[in-house]
């Protein structure tokens, strides 16, 4: 009976071991080993700056570039003193180079800072990302720039996935093989980079981001953007979205875990402040001062800084340009020198 069902007459593979197609396995292994050796070696040396930043597969070139630049920065200059996180107001605002110069001018001691601001990275995403960055890079001071806009769930939709990426999740302790690979293997990250690179539209976007971001993560804005309509209604400030609350709670948790956390109110133009003072900015500042005060977290206001920036220094109502950046960055460097002396960073 079983002979009617079972039989092995179909496969007649004499001499199959000599098939040339099977030898490609050796060639493939040889190519893979060469790829791994070259990428892992080059990315870990000074030559790494020559190569385009590889991808961590989070569907954001800005994120890829900043992760790689931060790794290179720490590799070249040692442990990080301060890491700035936040949305575009952070991304385009404080220039680490100017902050370091201002700090050194005040204290005579060098400082090592990096700007990890990301466009449209709202609090619900920056909360987990800040935790992941702290776990991975252990900066001595974590500076988070936030504004009332961070509590509006309608902002930043396109960049939320960065917080749920394999890279971030791995550094939050939720490991996966891919998470490990994007954190540990440059060869894998360069393979991901090539996959993105195959799309010519991706190439153009990548080239633009690569050109704009400085080696210390800062993305300058030049000139003037669109005029912001200051007469349009703005929502009343309130913390109503649970994912935003969760992001905020993660920051509070960092402080409880002993991380040196500094929250900076991202400066807005005086016009913007006046237009939305009563229903948005003031209630937000009140709320922050109350909550952060009870958790003993430093919260720096920037009203005076905003008024000290000339009107030509604003790219738009919420972002500074090449004129405003030095003012803002110098102020931040001086404030750091005053509140965080060199002993703090030792």
């Amino acid at each position: 009976m079983y002979k009617k069902i079972l039989g092995q007459q179909t496969l007649k593979l004499e001499g199959v071991g000599a098939l040339p197609i099977l030898r490609s396995g050796f060639v493939l292994s040889w190519i893979l080993i060469s790829w791994i050796l070259i990428t892992e070696f080059v990315a870990r040396t000074r030559l790494g700056y020559i190569l385009p930043p590889p991808s961590v597969g989070a569907d954001s070139f800005e994120f890829d570039i900043k992760v790689y630049y931060l790794e290179q920065d720490i590799r070249q200059r040692g442990a990080l003193d301060c890491l700035i996180v936040g949305d575009s107001m952070a991304n385009d605002g404080p220039d680490p180079l100017v902050i370091e110069q201002a700090y050194q001018a005040e204290t005579g001691t060098p400082l090592h800072c990096f700007n990890f601001g990301m466009p449209a990275l709202m609090l619900d995403a920056s909360g987990p990302l800040t935790t992941a960055l702290n776990n991975k890079f252990q900066p001595r001071l974590m500076i988070v720039m936030i504004s009332a806009r961070d509590f509006d769930p309608t902002y930043g939709v396109t960049f939320r996935h960065v917080a749920s990426s394999d890279w971030t999740q791995h550094n939050l302790g939720k490991s996966s093989p891919r998470g490990w690979a994007v954190n540990s293997l440059y060869s894998y990250r360069y393979a991901l980079f090539l996959q993105y690179w195959l799309n010519p539209l991706n190439r153009a976007r990548f080239a633009e981001a690569w050109r704009d971001i400085t080696p210390q993560g800062f993305t300058p804005l030049y000139g003037y953007g669109n005029t912001f309509d200051l007469t349009r209604p703005q929502a009343d400030f309130q913390i109503s979205d649970p994912t935003i609350q969760n992001g905020f709670d993660q920051l509070l948790q960092l402080k409880r875990a002993g991380v040196n956390l500094l929250i900076v109110d991202a400066p807005v133009s005086p016009d913007y402040y006046e237009a939305y003072r009563d229903n948005l900015v003031e209630p937000y500042i009140q709320s922050m001062q109350n909550t952060l005060g009870t958790h003993d977290i430093a919260f720096w206001l920037t009203r005076d800084l905003s008024t000290s920036i000339v009107s030509d220094g604003w790219y738009d109502a919420q972002h500074v340009n090449e004129i405003g950046v030095p003012v803002m960055s110098t102020w931040l460097g001086q404030q750091l020198a005053e509140h965080y002396p060199p002993e703090f960073f030792e």
Partner: protein, 468 residues
């Protein structure tokens, strides 16, 4: 359960499991196993599909046995009418004119009529089977399991090749052998199929503006010209890639399926094109529409102009309708019918160039006219085809996204290079003609290309042809 697409991890796993068990079974059990897998594969699209397939299979199985005994012409015609009418009505009821048609027959409640995927392909197989049995060219199959596998064999179920019973059924009856050559051929066909589908067709599709054929007025003349030519490459590599892939998989089971493409863009004439493009459909149309219609006309002693004009026109109109019941596709068929008639006229007056520069020029003209005919093939209506065509006329606008130009040129070059290799070696799995070192490097590079082009973010789009 989600439908299993041909280029998907699910299909890869299904194939591995199928092969693993297949190699352990005796021939008869192998046939049962393949039938079971085919039904399962089809049922992942809808449980309803295998049910319809089995009904049609059983009906035709019985009909053919009766035909063999009786040679009854009414029985034969009723069999053809049942199959053809089913195809015709389902095509019409799932066409863009569905709502109007349902209103006409007072059946507006029937809004969810579905054309089972692959139906157009297996109905043609059933018609050819009945005809061949009736003509006495083959014997009616006595084994229902073999016959059911002929109609439902999963590698060819969704989009062909349209196999003839006389090619397929004898392979089920003899011992199926996968030797070194068959294995090599199968693996190369799979690899080349994946390259055509994933690296060329899918990548070109990704670069193509999504609405260029539906809203051509939003694009420049140059955009329209370039994407019209590129559409030909997308369609060709998509379908040729699919055919190569399923032929390769079938080789691993010891069953040879017919080739469907043979460097169609190198065709020297319109009639030559149809011996190179969707070959199994073209041969079906030739044997069951073109020749019979010509013979029928000749039976009335109409050997002149009527015999010259009607058969090609009728054949290509049927081809257009088979691709979809829309005026645009009928127009596509009409254009091709017209091309064939013009060519026959040139031949009759001995004006068709056979060699030299004129032959090359004619070959380029054939490619150009066939490319123009893709406009109604790919636009939703005759009106939008007209809009596209008018957009190719002056005044010209010439901006084009230069960013994608290197990619597009490389992909087109790669497609033509694959064709040249096929032609040069006279072998669709041509890498086996290469030196050992070239094969080793070629396969390794092909695997790397496939790895990079099948990134997680990429959508492995469905085959264009399987929805006809």
């Amino acid at each position: 359960m989600k439908p299993i697409e041909i280029v998907s991890t699910d299909f890869f796993i299904l194939t591995l499991i199928t092969l693993g068990i297949y190699y352990l079974l005796a021939p008869r059990a192998q046939t049962f196993w393949l039938l079971a897998v085919s039904c399962f594969f089809y049922a992942t699209w809808s449980w309803f599909y295998p049910a319809i397939l089995l009904v049609f299979t059983f009906l035709n199985f019985i009909l053919a046995r009766q035909l063999e005994k009786t040679r009854s012409r009414p029985l034969f015609l009723s069999g053809i009418v049942i199959n053809a009418a089913s195809l015709l009505s389902l095509k019409l009821l799932t066409s863009p004119y569905q709502a109007t048609l349902l209103e006409q027959i007072n059946a507006t409640a029937l809004t969810r009529i579905l054309l089972p995927i692959g139906f157009s392909f297996y109905v043609l197989q059933l018609i050819s089977y009945l005809t061949d049995v009736y003509r006495g060219q083959i014997q009616a199959e006595q084994d229902f399991v073999h016959f059911a596998l002929y109609t439902s064999y999963f590698p060819k179920l969704l989009a062909g090749p349209i196999e003839r019973a006389k090619n397929f059924l004898p392979q089920l009856k003899r011992e199926r052998v996968v030797d070194r050559n068959m294995l090599e051929e199968g693996l190369y066909l799979i690899l080349l199929g994946l390259l055509r589908k994933i690296v060329i067709a899918d990548q070109l599709s990704r670069l193509r503006p999504a609405d260029i054929f539906t809203a051509p007025e939003n694009y420049t003349t140059l955009d329209r010209v370039v994407w019209l030519f590129l559409f030909a490459f997308i369609l060709y590599n998509d379908f040729a890639g699919y055919t190569s892939l399923v032929r390769g998989i079938s080789c691993l089971m010891g069953i040879q399926l017919s080739p469907n493409f043979r460097q169609p863009f190198l065709a020297g004439s319109f009639s030559d094109f149809w011996t190179r493009w969707h070959i199994t459909l073209s041969e079906w149309l030739r044997d069951y529409i073109f020749y019979p219609s010509r013979r029928w006309l000749m039976s009335f002693r109409w050997t002149g102009w009527m015999a010259l004009l009607l058969p090609p026109l009728l054949t290509m109109l049927v081809s257009g309708f088979w691709h979809g019941a829309s005026l645009a596709l009928l127009f596509w068929g009409f254009l091709h019918g017209l091309y064939l008639i013009m060519e026959q006229l040139l031949q009759r007056f001995k004006l068709l160039p056979k060699s030299g520069f004129n032959a090359h020029f004619y070959s380029a003209l054939v490619f150009l006219l066939i490319t123009l005919a893709w406009i109604p093939f790919n636009t939703p209506s005759v009106r939008s085809a007209g809009r596209y065509l008018i957009g190719l006329l002056p005044p010209y606008s010439a901006s084009f996204n230069i960013l994608i130009l290197p990619d597009v040129l490389l992909l087109v070059f790669f497609s033509l290079w694959l064709d040249w290799q096929e032609g040069h070696h006279q072998d669709l799995s041509f890498p086996r003609q290469w030196s050992v070192a070239a094969q080793s490097w070629g396969v390794a590079i092909a695997i790397l290309l496939l790895f990079f082009f099948t990134s997680t973010g990429n959508d492995l789009s469905r085959f264009v042809y399987q929805f006809f």
